[in-house]
């Protein structure tokens, strides 16, 4: 049995930052199913938002307001203020640790425009996104991993967490599968932080990595921890046609324009002030509508139909300097040089606004009344603070990792000073062991790939950009069946060392649980708000729905509850751009 005061599960931006803080005084280990530098933070492109004001006037207060309005007023407002104020320090901190931001001619951190980020409460787009070409996430991940090396943080690479241990409401550690050997190891800990990222892989077309399977959220849900706002999933407007590979909003931040089959700049009809820099939910819906109304470039309204993202007028020099990876993706996967021709794009499943409910220090809530678990933390995309409300603004995911990963790590450091190691029995790993031996057991089981395809098709078709009660009810039925069939899935590969087959089956189980919860929460919310757009309830309904959803998974049933939203600073108003 291993013993660490603090365990961090996941080695993306939030996990690494928390590890840097916790390891200052506490014995800390990071467990990650991937090598840390493979984490999905590295795929973030366009920037990290902070009101530095390097190119024009900007204020954290404006950033906070944009975040609240962008989230369609489901954002907890005090949390948004902390996010926006601390973003400035976070960006300087990253720069001071060596992060190679792109620069202004004066040598300051350069900033670009991004969707929904505005000057003076919505007047016009503002340059707020601090960026390193279109590799900002890569630079953040690299910088944080470098700092972990510098500070001798302990890593258990390619360890997959199978179980989390509790003593009443106190977290006592985790049980993990060592992928290199197939051995199951118990880690006793005073505090555990989950930073396991998102779960875009429940959809057919997604910008997310294979690894984004919501492992932490699903595990905690099965242990009785509620999940918050799972009905809110962001579709990024511009994924590469058919593949879903992300084309950063930074293209539009630099002046790129969305056009339909007629060459029309259609965003003029949907968001007359911010145009192509409106928030993502609105632009994804606009593209969807254009395609449905036969103004897609193919014109057949099919799932493969698309619109054009035109960057040809930006010039080759600007594209190669500020958007070099986008240019390369476009050349590699589309055979198109974006300085010559527009890129075919359509929305792609991108980001989970919902997740493990946490307070401002990353501590996990047990209910909607403010009761907390002890020694259990979450940060990053897997957590729900909630700073993103019903729709996240571009750049705010990276801000959240740094700001709330740090806060959680700092709180853990304090907590473990005064905490004892909870008792962990020798039998602690038994549940995980029997789960694994069942999966690897003999017999013709259900084919997991078939279940995965059915889940992805169902979620994409029935719980996508636009939703309605009938389709979602159908999705829930299908997901019930798929979860039932999952119980008979067996891994075809029964070997121990580097068994990626077992890992994929475990990940599928997580996705199925989260898809089931997401669809149930979505059917329950009878209004349209942010990314949750219902054809049968087209208006936002503040009197009935201005609150967070909590969902408990109880075996095959889901119990739903509420949690209040903090609207202490800005009164909810209709959302126009």
């Amino acid at each position: 049995m291993f013993e660490y005061e603090a365990i961090i599960v996941g080695a993306g931006g939030a996990g690494l930052y928390a590890a840097l803080e916790a390891s200052k005084t506490g014995k800390t280990a990071v467990l990650s199913k991937l090598f840390p530098v493979r984490s999905h933070t590295g795929a973030a492109q366009g920037g990290i938002g902070a009101a530095l004001g390097n190119l024009e006037e900007d204020k954290p207060e404006w950033h906070a307001f944009d975040t609240v309005k962008g989230g369609d007023y489901l954002t907890d407002q005090n949390a948004a203020v902390i996010l926006a104020e601390d973003a400035v320090r976070a960006v300087y901190d990253l720069e001071n640790r060596g992060l190679p931001f792109s620069r202004t001619p004066e040598g300051l951190i350069d900033q670009r425009r991004f969707g929904g980020h505005t000057r003076n409460f919505g007047e016009a787009p503002v340059r707020r996104s601090c960026y390193a070409a279109d590799r900002t996430g890569h630079m953040i991940l690299q910088t944080l991993y470098q700092q972990c090396i510098k500070n001798s943080v302990s890593f258990f690479d390619e360890f997959y967490v199978l179980d989390v241990l509790f003593k009443d409401r106190a977290c006592a550690g985790v049980v993990a599968l060592d992928l290199s050997t197939g051995d199951i190891q118990t880690f006793r800990a005073k505090a555990v932080l989950f930073a396991t990222g998102g779960f875009g892989r429940m959809f057919r077309i997604t910008s997310n990595a294979f690894a984004n399977t919501g492992d932490g959220q699903a595990l905690l849900a099965r242990k009785g921890v509620p999940l918050e706002d799972m009905e809110f999933f962001q579709f990024h407007p511009t994924g590469i046609r058919g593949l879903g590979i992300l084309i950063t909003e930074g293209v539009r931040g630099e002046g790129g324009i969305l056009r339909n089959a007629n060459g029309e700049r259609f965003m003029e009809r949907y968001a007359s002030t911010l145009l192509d820099l409106a928030p993502r939910d609105m632009i994804a819906r606009a593209i969807h509508t254009e395609i449905q109304e036969s103004r897609g470039v193919r014109g057949d309204g099919s799932v493969d139909d698309f619109v054009h993202l035109d960057a040809t007028h930006l010039g080759k020099e600007l594209i190669e300097e500020k958007l070099p990876d986008i240019a390369e993706f476009s050349r590699t996967y589309l055979g198109i040089d974006p300085s010559d021709k527009p890129m075919p794009v359509h929305p792609t499943a991108h980001y989970a606004m919902g997740g493990i409910p946490v307070d401002l220090d990353g501590r996990v809530f047990a209910d909607g009344e403010g009761h907390l678990y002890e020694g259990l933390y979450a940060a990053g995309e897997c957590a729900c603070v909630s700073v993103h409300g019903a729709n996240r603004l571009g750049t705010n995911s990276l801000v959240e990792l740094i700001v709330f990963g740090r806060r959680a790590g700092q709180h853990m450091r304090q907590y473990i000073k005064g905490a004892d190691f909870p008792a962990v029995s020798r039998e602690a790993s038994e549940i995980a062991k029997s789960q694994l031996s069942r999966l690897k057991g003999k017999g013709e089981g259900t084919n997991p790939d078939e279940l995965r395809r059915d889940m992805q098709n169902t979620m994409t078709a029935n719980v996508g950009i636009y939703r309605n009660g009938k389709d979602m009810a159908q999705a829930i039925e299908t997901l019930r069946e798929l979860r039932e069939r999952y119980k008979t899935v067996r891994a075809a590969d029964s070997s121990n060392a580097f068994n990626t087959n077992v890992l994929e089956v475990l990940e599928l189980g997580n996705l199925l649980d989260l898809a089931y919860i997401s669809a149930t929460c979505a059917l329950n919310r009878t209004e349209s708000r942010g990314a949750h757009a219902r054809e049968d309830y087209i208006e936002r309904d503040d009197p009935n729905w201005l609150h967070h959803t909590l969902a408990w998974l109880r075996a095959d049933e889901i119990i739903l509850g509420h949690k209040p939203v903090d609207t202490s600073r800005w009164k909810p108003k209709p959302r126009k751009y």
């Binding site: 991937l34 090598f35 530098v37 493979r38 984490s39 999905h40 590295g42 795929a43 530095l52 960006v91 300087y92 720069e95 001071n96 640790r97 060596g98 190679p100 931001f101 792109s102 620069r103 202004t104 001619p105 004066e106 040598g107 300051l108 951190i109 390193a132 590799r135 890569h138 630079m139 690299q142 910088t143 470098q146 700092q147 090396i149 510098k150 290199s180 990595a209 294979f210 690894a211 593949l243 590979i245 992300l246 990876d325 390369e328 993706f329 590699t332 996967y333 790939d449 891994a491 075809a492 590969d493 070997s495 121990n496 060392a497 580097f498 990626t500 087959n501």
Partner: protein
Amino acid sequence: MKITVEIQRFNPETDTEPYTKAYEVDADPTDRLLTVLMMIKSDQDPSLGIRKSCAHGVCGSDAMIINGKEGLACKTLIKDVAEAEGATIRVEPLRNLPIQRDLMVDQTHFFANYMQVKPYFISTKEPKSGEFRQPPEDRKEFEEGTKCILCVSCYSACPVIQEVNPDFLGPAAIIQAARFNDDSRDEGFEERLPHLDYPDGIWPCESRFECTRVCPRGIKITKTINLTKKKITKYREDHKSRE
């Protein structure tokens, strides 16, 4: 189009030697090789061992030998490696590191070399407020190295490691050191120097350009190594003349 994918297989629990297994697949010319390998894994052989994550060339998980040359499976389209109907694509694990299973190699040594060069920002200064100032032309000086995704391709392609000196530090670690040595804000050159300037450090490089040829991020690796050699030589000469 119908193609054959020949994959080098090895399971440490059942095999004594690697062997080749051929799989017939129906693939689209614009499919990623990774997609085809995942098709094989799901439809024909779930025991295939492979690392993968982002699937668009930025995480560095799926570097392998594709038709004899290092590349990322997710950044390689079928049409780029299979000329026509009936073509065969050969896929093998990276070279110069022990095979763990099928297409997975043990990267422990690679990462140990990387960590050895102190690949992190070292500075005793603090900016008066906010950020360190750095003109765009100074940032350009170390731009190349920042692109590295530690995918191991260069280390696998290095003929010096394979033929001359298996203890050579390798291209990626030098690139990572240069990324900081060439950063106008950094002060760690002397701390990193002993980890580059020793017989198995930077000097075994013979400028054979294989690393540059295979780098999926297009980093000018050989050029950067030579510039770093020059920088070290100059430092040693300046240091000697001062003594």
